[in-house]
């Protein structure tokens, strides 16, 4: 445990060594021969030269990233320190689902040569922690068993798809025993209670370069700043440089605040460690911290002024920082600014501080992280151990100075931890309820005291540092109350991260603001249909098989006839997912033309691609206008599918608004399918407006695919501002032609020979002529198989479905039943229909009252030689015809005065009646 602590206190200083040589004239970049690293307060210097294997600060303390250093370079001012590396992977960095490809249990010290392209190989040189020894082990030889702890072995390479035998040539140029054992540990001696008393002050003043702390802070501040809205940046740029120092001080506060607010056990642990380092000093901690921060501020101010001449432009970023840097916001900065920009500013400004290192590391190789997505174990401990073993350390008791330093580092540590939170999934596990992100690591509550101390401290500081930017206010508020909103925001972040990693734990976060427990309501009821006792029988004969395949619900292997549409939608969604942007698409087409099916197919393919790490992961959410009771329920459903929260429509709208307009770390693209869009119409159209407005937000990463039936829906029902946001990405699905329908059936049947060719053609031609609805086509085919089955004399001797069967099915489904119904009506009913027609002819109108018709009816029945019926009977006859909708009637309370109209054409009636008589 101690070793973590040692690293915590490290303040490393990086200096270029050797003569710079011009590396690229255009970019004005310089190459450097080696890099000198020293731990602040110690004389010893570690030299890192290209060709060595290095450890790079990662988001995992136990296991830092491993890489081989290829080249150092920087810019004119020599302040930017960059390095080109060849990455190595630990097994833990390999995606979870690929780990099995290894086929054996990995050696604990094993690493893999990384051959992938996805990862930026340019890193910030200041994230280098130290060197490490890497040894190539040939494929067939076993790992050297009692290997030293600080040697890593490489045997295989990893190209994001598979493990391959590593070509030894790649490892050739390795200077075999490179790790020049540093004369001094990179980690400060205050690690143990007996650490060296270091005079920190002199070292700092002697610095030829600006104080790394300040620089780093400024750099980190720029990142923080980036997380804030861009609009505010410009106003803040006007602020003078010296504010950076104050801000950096306040940044510590905010970091601490976060530490206290987030209440991470991990943080607790760190704090506790620092307690362990200064035993018995707990009580004075607050005072010391105060003092330290004051001093820190002063010195920083001085240095930042010094700096201003050389690095003013990068400090512009720096001074535009805001102290409000909440957990969820930090990594978004990376997203908002191009990679280059942020890394440059970091490189120029950030020296050794831990939190920042972590951050910059997260910046540069984060592509790799994304692909790796695995849990990293902190590796720094190894390093620390190694260092402490190698270097003769003078055990010294802690001085107040170092204590101060430690206090400061505590805060840094907290921030670092919070940064970690964004990236590390390790920390997320099911824990007690008051922790957002409970850690797996053992919780030791003794740090509670410490935590409160630092929180008090934070508050005190916050009052002292005059609030410079408007951003401080929210941060202060958040500090004091740590509102629910923030919590929920953090929660969503956490949940997202979790979802991304496939750890779909059903557990809802405990602090959902909406969670009201209503007693006696079955709130946790799981929706399910009872399962059957006897399993469903499988289809028996060929016709059964064909019927099962022809059912609309059966998902075909491929969707024929929609290749072009598929490709267009695929490209659209894929490009959006790749770019991390948002967009809308409107898809129209009559029912049964495969709109929803095509999109589902697209999503299936994309999901597969993202499983294969070809594209970033994304979330797919589907809502259907028909499957909700009210357009505003769309919000509720989207939110529930995103975050599993159940809230009211208004609240959901607010939460979604916040979610899509605020930056959040590790936000993956959300693909939202809105089916039956026209049902989401409201008078103010605010639901549609929001759905189309969110994708245009900067941080939304939302792709909205909308489906409706009419091609001109945007023009017809949407007001301008909604239609404009929907954009012009439109697609229309044409009804299927008969050839396509035939192809669909054939592909569904997939070599099950159940239909005659002609029969299929008949069905598809008929349907294509009527609607082009594939569902209809499949239903008719299914019915035809049934007719075929029934018409066969023996159930076993069923042949193919023939034309006659299809004809019968078509007749059943398409022929109007009116004529049959008239034919089957009773004599008086038929007579009444004739009377209606006679009366229409007499009046020359298509409408008559019952009374008028009844007169005709009576006359007709006399002609027919039938006993005339009473008025009541006549009315009953009329009502019966009205119930079948052969006649259209007015309300029956009008009695004899109700008007009668025919619902069938007169010709049809006469035809049907004639057929009856003949």
């Amino acid at each position: 445990m101690v070793r973590y602590f040692t690293r915590l206190r490290v303040r490393r200083i990086y200096k270029w060594g050797g003569r710079p040589y011009i590396f690229d004239r255009k970019l004005k970049s310089y190459g450097f021969e080696y890099l000198n690293m020293s731990v602040e307060g110690q004389e010893a210097v570690t030299t890192v030269t290209p060709g060595q294997y290095i450890l790079i600060e990662g988001n995992d303390d136990e296991y830092p990233f491993v890489a081989k250093l290829l080249k150092f370079f920087g810019d004119e001012s020599h302040k930017q320190k960059k390095a080109l590396v060849q990455w190595f992977l630990r097994l833990s960095e390999v995606p979870q689902n690929k780990k099995l490809l290894l086929g054996r249990s990995p050696h604990p010290q094993e690493i893999f040569y990384y051959l992938g392209r996805a990862c930026d190989n340019e890193i910030n040189a200041e994230s280098i922690l130290g060197t490490v020894h890497v040894q190539h082990v040939p494929e067939d030889t076993p790992f050297p068993e009692p290997g030293t702890k600080d040697t890593l072995y490489v045997k295989l390479s990893w190209d994001t798809k598979a493990f391959n035998v590593l070509d030894p040539v790649l490892m050739q140029d390795t200077p075999a025993s490179t790790p020049p054992k540093p004369a001094l540990p990179l980690f400060p001696p205050c690690a143990s209670p007996t650490a060296t008393p270091v005079s920190r002050g002199p070292v700092r003043r002697a610095l030829p370069t600006p104080d790394p702390t300040v620089m780093r802070r400024a750099g980190s501040v720029s990142d923080t700043r980036a997380t804030m809205s861009a609009g505010k940046r410009s106003t803040l740029e006007a602020e003078s440089i010296h504010s950076a120092s104050k801000l950096s001080a306040s940044k510590i506060l905010s970091a601490k605040r976060r530490g206290s607010a987030a209440d991470t056990p991990g943080v607790r642990k760190k704090l506790q460690l620092s307690i362990g380092a200064s035993p018995g000093k707990k009580m004075t901690r607050a005072d010391v911290l105060c003092e330290l921060l004051d001093e820190e501020m002063e010195s920083e101010k001085v240095i930042s002024l010094k700096l201003s001449s050389s690095v003013s432009h990068s400090l512009q970023h720096g001074c535009s920082l805001s102290p409000m840097r909440s957990v969820c916001k930090t990594p978004n900065g990376q997203r908002r600014f191009p990679w280059k920009l942020s890394s440059i500013s970091l490189d120029r400004l950030s020296p050794t501080a831990l939190g920042e290192q972590d951050f910059s590391r997260a910046t540069t190789p984060s592509r790799r992280k994304e692909s790796a997505m695995a849990i990293r174990e902190p590796a720094l401990g190894v390093l620390a151990e190694e260092d402490s073993e190698d270097s003769p350390m003078q055990p010294i008791a802690l001085t107040p100075r170092s204590k101060r330093k430690s206090a400061q580092l505590v805060s840094l540590r907290i921030r670092k931890q919070l940064n970690l939170l964004d990236n590390t999934q390790e920390l997320i596990s099911d824990g007690d309820d008051d922790c957002f992100v409970p850690s797996k690591k053992d919780l030791q509550s003794s740090s509670d005291e410490e935590k409160t101390v630092s929180e008090e401290e934070t508050r005190g500081r916050n009052c002292k540092t005059s609030v410079r930017t408007p951003h401080k206010t929210p941060s202060k508020k958040a500090l004091q109350s740590s509102t629910d909103e923030e919590k929920s925001e953090e929660e969503t972040v956490v949940r997202k991260t979790r979802g991304r990693n496939g750890k779909t734990s059903a557990r809802t976060p405990c602090k959902t603001p909406s969670k009201k427990v209503t007693p006696s309501t079955p709130r946790h009821a799981t929706p399910s249909i009872p399962s059957r006792t006897v399993p469903a029988r499988q289809p028996g004969n060929i016709l059964d098989e064909a019927r099962a395949r022809l059912h609309v619900s059966s998902v075909p292997e491929s969707l024929p006839c929609r290749e072009q549409e598929f490709q267009d939608i695929y490209n659209f969604v894929e490009s959006k997912v790749m770019d991390g942007t948002g967009g809308c698409m409107y898809i129209s087409g009559v029912p049964g033309t495969g709109k929803t099916a095509t999109i589902h197919e697209v999503i299936r393919c994309l999901q597969h691609a993202s499983d294969m790490d070809e594209i970033p992961t994304f979330r797919f959410i589907e809502i259907n206008g028909m499957k909700m009771t009210d357009p505003h329920q769309a919000y509720v459903q989207i939110l529930q599918k995103l975050t599993d929260q159940k809230v009211t429509a208004d609240h959901a709208a607010a939460l979604l608004e916040k979610r899509f307009s605020n930056p959040a770390p590790k936000k993956e693209t959300t693909v939202l399918l809105v089916d039956e869009l026209d049902l989401l119409w409201t008078r103010k159209q605010n639901v549609m407006y929001n759905l189309f407005d969110w994708p245009t937000r900067r941080h939304a990463r939302l792709v909205v695919l909308t489906i409706a039936n009419t091609m001109d829906l945007p023009e017809r029902i949407m007001i301008n501002r909604v239609a404009s946001r929907l954009g012009l990405t439109r697609m229309s699905f044409q009804p299927y032609s008969f050839k396509q329908l035939q192809q669909i059936i054939t592909s569904r049947l997939n070599k099950v020979k159940a239909f005659e060719e002609d029969a299929l053609q008949l069905v598809s031609r008929k349907v294509a002529a009527l609607s082009g609805d594939a569902r209809r086509c499949l239903d008719i085919c299914r019915r035809a198989t049934e007719i075929c089955e029934h018409s066969a004399s023996h159930p076993s001797s069923t042949g193919l479905v023939r034309m006659s069967h299809v004809m019968e099915a078509l007749d059943e489904m398409f022929s109007s039943s009116y004529i049959t119904a008239i034919g089957c009506a009773s004599l008086q009913e038929q007579l009444f229909l004739r009377a209606v027609i006679a009366e229409f002819r007499r009046l020359g109108l298509e409408e008559a009252t019952f009374q008028q018709v009844f007169v005709q009816h009576r006359a007709l029945s006399r002609v027919e030689g039938l006993q005339p019926i009473s008025v009541s009977e006549g009315l009953a006859v009329c009502q019966r015809l009205g119930a079948c909708r052969l006649l259209l009637l007015e309300a029956s309370r009008l009695d004899m005065l109700q008007r009668v109209r025919l619902n069938v054409s007169q010709d049809d009636v006469l035809y049907a009646l004639k057929a009856v008589r003949d």
Partner: protein
């Protein structure tokens, strides 16, 4: 001994009454639906596939009122549930468009009948939106092979089509067309144009299977049917009575007057419900003293069935009211069915009084008014104005809801109707 046999006889009649009443009141399903064998087979096969293979289906049973839609379905369900595999494996859900008048109620009812987990006792928890989401989620979670098939039986299917957005129908039919829990949606309706009621998306999801129940029964079959309906079942305890009764029924059905009556009924409507009403009336006249249905019973029953509903009301009117109706009839003749008001009727009535003052008492206007209002209450006349309040009672436009023939018939049968009034009814100037 004598009393004992009489008692036994009495009990036999009660038994006959009970058996036949059950039959006529649709309390017992027939052994086999008559005249709809192919439809029966089709439906049974369809539901069996849902129950056994887990295939989702949707079907509409269309037929005029009284054509036996529900009977057919119930027969099929009875037969289906007799199969051992199926018995415990299907979940029938019965809905009626007249009871579940909107989707909110319908959803609660579905959830209650399925007894999902948000049902406690008989109460369904959650809002409308929650219920819908819950049900859909439940159905979505199911799959073809492992979930119990749900049979949604929607009586008065056309009324469900009037629900807002047709949400329920869309969702049920959508489930039936997607790989979710197996469902069969069975709609019963008498509207032939029911598909036109469905919205295009809903319509596309419906499988377009329709089972039409249109009886093309000939009169001979109809007669056979009457005989079999009136005959006692073979397992009747008293064989002697059984033979007697069935013989009497046979002779009854051969009687010419009975055949005429039945022909008349057949011409009017072919459905069994009206026939059952007729037979029920005839059956109720059977007693211990009259151990068989006689042709006169059937004639009387037919008379009761066929009687004009307004004739009875007319018989109960006073002479004054009758006179007013005659006045209205004349006004109708003069103005060719144009509406009239009280003043016109009163004038017409006064003219008659002036001519024949001796035959009828000269009523005051308020009395006449009262009689007029009574006629309105009996709905023999109907106000044509929608806003009755604005116009004075005397001038409200009215229409007569009686046919000529009805009035004349009533006058013929009216007891002690003054001759003058009868004559006046024949001619306006009589």
């Amino acid at each position: 001994m004598c009393t004992l046999s009489r008692q036994r006889k009495g009990s036999i009649h009660e038994l006959v009454q009970m058996i036949l009443r059950e039959r006529f009141c649709h309390q017992r399903l027939p052994e086999k639906p008559v005249g709809m064998e192919s439809q029966h087979k089709h439906l049974l096969e369809l539901l069996r596939r849902t129950a056994v293979h887990g295939e989702s289906n949707s079907v509409l049973i269309v037929g005029p009122r009284g054509s036996g839609k529900t009977m057919l379905l119930n027969c099929v369900l009875r037969e289906l549930l007799e199969v051992k595999d199926v018995n415990k494996n299907v979940l029938p859900v019965h809905l009626n468009g007249l009871l579940q008048t909107d989707d909110r109620i319908a959803l609660k009812e579905i959830t209650r009948q399925l007894n999902l987990e948000n049902v406690v006792g008989d109460k369904v928890f959650g809002s409308f939106a929650e219920n819908l989401a819950f049900l859909l989620e439940a159905l979505k979670k199911g799959d073809r092979s492992s979930s119990r098939p749900v049979l949604f039986i929607l009586d008065e299917f056309d009324l469900f089509a009037h629900h807002k957005n047709q949400t329920l129908l869309y969702n049920l039919l959508d489930v039936s067309q997607s790989a979710q829990a197996p469902v069969a949606v069975i709609g019963l309706t008498c509207r032939l144009d029911v598909l036109e009621l469905l919205e295009k998306r809903v319509k596309s999801r419906f499988s377009h299977r329709q089972i039409h129940l249109l009886s093309s029964l000939s009169f001979i079959q109809y007669l056979d049917n009457v005989r079999s309906q009136l005959s006692l079942p073979q397992d009747f305890p008293d064989t002697k009575f059984y033979d007697e009764w069935n013989d009497s029924i046979k002779t009854l059905c051969e009687d010419q007057s009975v055949v005429d009556v039945l022909q008349r009924h057949y011409n009017s409507s072919k459905d069994f419900r009206s026939l059952h009403l007729l037979l029920m009336l005839a059956l109720s006249r059977v007693s211990a003293s009259k151990p068989a249905i006689k042709p006169t019973d059937l004639l009387e029953a037919s008379r009761v069935c066929m009687v004009d509903s307004k004739a009875n009301i007319l018989h109960g009117l006073s002479i004054l009211e009758l006179c007013l109706i005659i006045a209205m009839k004349h006004l109708n003749d003069i103005y060719e069915g144009e509406p009239f008001n009280f003043q016109m009727v009163h004038n017409e009535f006064k003219k008659f009084l002036q001519r024949k003052s001796h035959s009828i008492h000269n009523f005051d206007k308020p009395v006449v008014m009262k009689a007029f209002e009574h006629l309105q209450q009996l709905e023999l006349i109907k106000s044509m104005d929608s806003s009755t309040a604005k116009i004075q009672k005397e001038y409200q436009l009215m229409k007569l809801l009686l046919d000529h023939s009805q009035i004349m018939e009533a006058l013929q049968k009216y007891p002690q109707c003054p001759t003058d009034v009868k004559q006046w009814a024949m001619s306006a100037f009589g």
